[in-house]
Symmetry: C2
Subunit: 225 residues, 2 copies
């Protein structure tokens, strides 16, 4: 029994997933999601946190982490019966991960290229990644997890860039602002401002206590450009 991690972040306005290059058989040298076997006496959450730090050097306490789905096809691993529990992790742009125990390389791969046919991820990881991406997109509609992608403090524009990167289309800045600022508990003003290279300074915020978005922020509001 294993845990595999779909770790997403936004870097340079692109949604990216953390991939490792496999250092062992099977699928030696092929890109894959980080993951590993559950140890005796560990909960799955503990396994996920441990793999996160072992394979990527990331601190799981700063990330949003949730169970995604279990993949149990008897033929999914050529070594034999391996059931895997996939986790979805969302976090702010993080320092480049270091190669870990059974990974010879790790990188932040843009989602678009990670899902092309040419990439051919190990095992059924392409399917797991697709499911994780769809879950992340859906979570942005109904919860405030998008803020987990932003290093604090952040501006409304930062948050909008997250939505645009994850959903893959532009949003209307003024309507977006209204929606997030009117949802009580989503954003907490710090009172500070950030001065960009050019343009009016923006108010800075921290994540608020709310976790659900009621009413939801629907993806249907796609806008040109």
């Amino acid at each position: 029994m294993t845990v595999d991690l779909v770790i997403l972040t936004v870097r340079q306005d692109r949604l990216r997933v953390l991939l490792i290059e496999r250092g062992n058989q099977p699928y030696l040298g092929r890109p894959a999601l980080p993951g590993g076997f559950v140890r005796h006496g560990e909960t799955l959450d503990e396994t996920a946190l441990r793999e996160l730090s072992e394979e990527t050097g990331l601190d799981g306490r700063k990330l949003h982490l949730e169970q995604l789905h279990v993949y149990s096809d008897p033929d999914r691993d050529p070594r034999g019966r391996v059931v895997t529990v996939a986790y979805l992790a969302l976090g702010p742009d993080m320092p480049l991960p270091v190669a870990g125990t059974d990974a010879t390389a790790a990188r932040w791969e843009p989602i678009s290229s990670a899902l092309t046919d040419g990439m051919s991820l190990a095992f059924d990881h392409a399917a797991i990644l697709r499911d994780g991406l769809e879950r992340a997109r859906s979570q942005l509609e109904h919860t405030t997890v998008a803020a987990a992608f932003c290093p604090e403090p952040f501006t409304v524009g930062d948050l909008r860039h997250i939505y645009e990167a994850v959903w893959g289309f532009k949003l209307d800045p003024s309507n977006f602002r209204r929606k997030v600022t009117r949802t009580a508990g989503f954003l907490e003003p710090t009172g500070e401002r950030r001065f960009p290279e050019t343009g009016r300074p923006a108010n800075l915020y921290r994540r608020g206590p709310a976790s659900l978005l009621i009413p939801p922020l629907l993806r249907s509001g796609e806008v040109s450009s």
Copy 2:
């Protein structure tokens, strides 16, 4: 590794869960969710379908079945390490189940009493049941699964009774009708009508091909009485 099932139905206008009485140690004689061990070479979906028929005599192909969550606390089973994958099953009012291999009794228990302290379900099944109930309530908002509770053909009133039983409050009949009939692909008219003991006859419908409810049918619309 096991699969446990939260099987819900609506019977006599009450939401009910299928509970068995345990025939083995541990928790001998205590009420529990049906479930059992995953066999070699089986996917989890197959295990869920097999347990469904073995323990309850129900045909899983007529039910809506989905993965719920994995429960992995090392102490959740006194026999040792048992990770369980919970499934949620929703179906129409079904023939009384027959007692199966490791169950000495099975019954449709109203949700309200199944979750009282006095019931004290085996293992962590009370927590699993609570999670399943919340998932079912949420699914009714965003998908058309409510129709899975209705034997075909059914009326708009039948469907409304499902929502009322699962959510635990009354809905406005006229507004409900508008919402479900205007969602393309939710209901397919059969052209037939049903004549109640008293009152105007109602049009009959079958489930349509749609599975998502856009826009969602929100729970916030609670109404008095």
